[in-house]
Symmetry: none
Subunit: 203 residues, 4 copies
């Protein structure tokens, strides 16, 4: 029994140190494009050595992926906690998602990165797939509540795509401030929500 507790403690310590590294990386990513952040910087910022990073992650890509997956999980959890009793409305969901993306530009930077060529191990691919499915389930539920009951899975893919596309297309509209961007993307999110809602009514 004592032994089990010791192992547990070790695991907890390991997890917490991994979290320190992860959070340090996030910290840096919130300020700079993640592709320009170096291992050295992450290590220094986390207060550990370079080697320690590699004790917790096979390579930089795995660390990036961890950040990415954590983001998706966070979004999923936040969605679960939005409407305690009933699922969020389409508009709530869209606005929330776009707000999250505005607050976490690293997230869609990484999405682009991994989707457009970032090499991933089969293991990582599987994990990503699972976590993504959980998020898609929430989207599907919201669509279902909004009255879209045919093709709901495919439509949730379309909705997810549309929202991601907003940020990809307008996250850096030339000459606009961060606030302008936020306002514009939220507006587009509202339009997307409206379009999907109307479509539900029409059909």
């Amino acid at each position: 029994m004592a032994k089990i507790r010791l192992e547990d403690l070790k695991q907890i310590e390991r997890d917490s140190r991994r979290k320190i590294i992860l959070d340090s990386a996030l910290d840096l990513f919130s300020v700079r494009d993640f592709r320009s952040v170096t291992v050295r910087e992450i290590a220094r910022h986390a207060g550990v050595s370079i080697g320690t990073i590699y004790n917790y992650y096979l390579n930089l890509t795995e660390l990036f992926l961890d950040v990415f997956l954590n983001n998706i999980e966070e979004i999923t959890h936040m969605l679960d906690n939005m409407g305690k009793d009933k699922p969020p409305s389409l508009e709530q969901l869209c606005k929330f998602y776009i707000t999250y993306l505005n607050d976490n530009m690293t997230f869609y930077q990484m999405m682009s990165h991994f989707m457009l060529g970032g090499e991933m191990s089969p293991d990582a691919t599987q994990k990503l797939d699972d976590i993504m499915k959980a998020l898609m389930n929430r989207m599907e539920t919201a669509l279902y509540s909004a009255g879209i009951q045919n093709n709901s899975r495919l439509t949730s893919h379309a909705l997810f795509s549309a929202l991601n596309g907003i940020m990809i297309s307008y996250a850096r509209y030339p000459g606009k401030s961060d606030d302008d961007i936020r306002r514009h993307t939220l507006l587009l999110a509202k339009i997307i929500a409206g379009v999907f809602n109307d479509s539900a009514c029409a059909s």
Copy 2:
């Protein structure tokens, strides 16, 4: 007059050489992620020296941008030529755009790149803005024809976003072949088109 002709010739030669470089780059990008293509490779493939590349482009980014802008212009022209007399239907437009993106993966790779951190000169930003506006005009026209007459500019932004998002989100769905991807993204394009169409009817 003779002088003018000589200058013209020079300009023509210059333009054609620039085109050779551009096409060579495109050639390479059709096979590999553009971020992994080096100046040396482009030069060798174009049959010119590295230095020549820099005689025609300030730096690699400008060349990338040229490729990108040419793509947008090409899309715009193709849209213009689709329906000789009447603008394309929403579904036609969406399917066409997604088909183009499937055929030119470099295009949305570059879109992501420039939107998510690629540094651009003010000059380049302006040019991009102009060319993008022309494309957006075509989208707006199609939406207008489909019955979306309120907020049509904003809605065309939303449509553009949604289509881009399809590729970003599903261009590399794990374990799917190129053909699967094409089928899935076209399906999503159809759903998007349908949703926008329904919305037009509903309102």
Copy 3:
């Protein structure tokens, strides 16, 4: 008395654990170039921790050296057991040695390593010297029996050199299989034996 037995037991356990480590290392070396084997791998393969390795060896070099010395001792013992009553003939000796080297490529890899720059402690140097002398005695005996009685010590050095050189020079003849190598090196061993034999007769 009980105490002595306990100490003995401890020593036996210590020796056996050291042997486990040594054998694990040998196991790995039989498959891969010893210079590419890491402490971590040896530890894992031996089923002990990295730290334990360092409880038994001052550093990796000492472990390598231990493997090397054990090899030389093994060769010496095998030579002793070859001809129970009379020493082996020159050809027998040469063939045996080359066969051993073919079977234990790590041995001459290490010989090269230590001879060509591997740092050794004075203590280790002394140990190596002793063990090497024992082997050289066997060679000298064989040469003596073959009729080489002048300069026999020096000649045994020459013979030893010649045999080692065979492996260094032809252990990786380009495009040859392991079997080809074995056949070629054994042939050269036979020639060397013959040359030394003839020389004995001639003088």
Copy 4:
């Protein structure tokens, strides 16, 4: 014609710079084990940038190989120039070779390195094979003159092996000075020469 001269000049310049790099590397290798010499050091010592090294060599291994091949060629040429009219005697050849090895410890360090695991491209392997054959021809000729006319190719392999083995086995005899080593290895070379000579007479 002018053009050809220009190209020639360029090639000459290229060759000479390559030689500068090569000589700088050799310079360093004469003082330190080549495996501990870094690209940075070679570059600094040659007065060029690191990148320049890689303009002339694909990687460090290729540079090492170039040093090695140059050594073999040098030996071959020196052998050719030894006896203007008649080939060198066996003893001359052996002594010369061992002297060369004593003067160029990098040579047999590299021989060991490449023979015992250093990865080589097929192209490099071929080049090495060719150059080695030229050297072996000289050895064979000397053996032939010494009266060894049966199996002369195989015997030249054996002689080559034996000489290499001398250095591998005794280049670092514990507690001996460089001069001691030189004397001892030359002695062994003489014995080897004698043995092969006697053998020729006996048969």
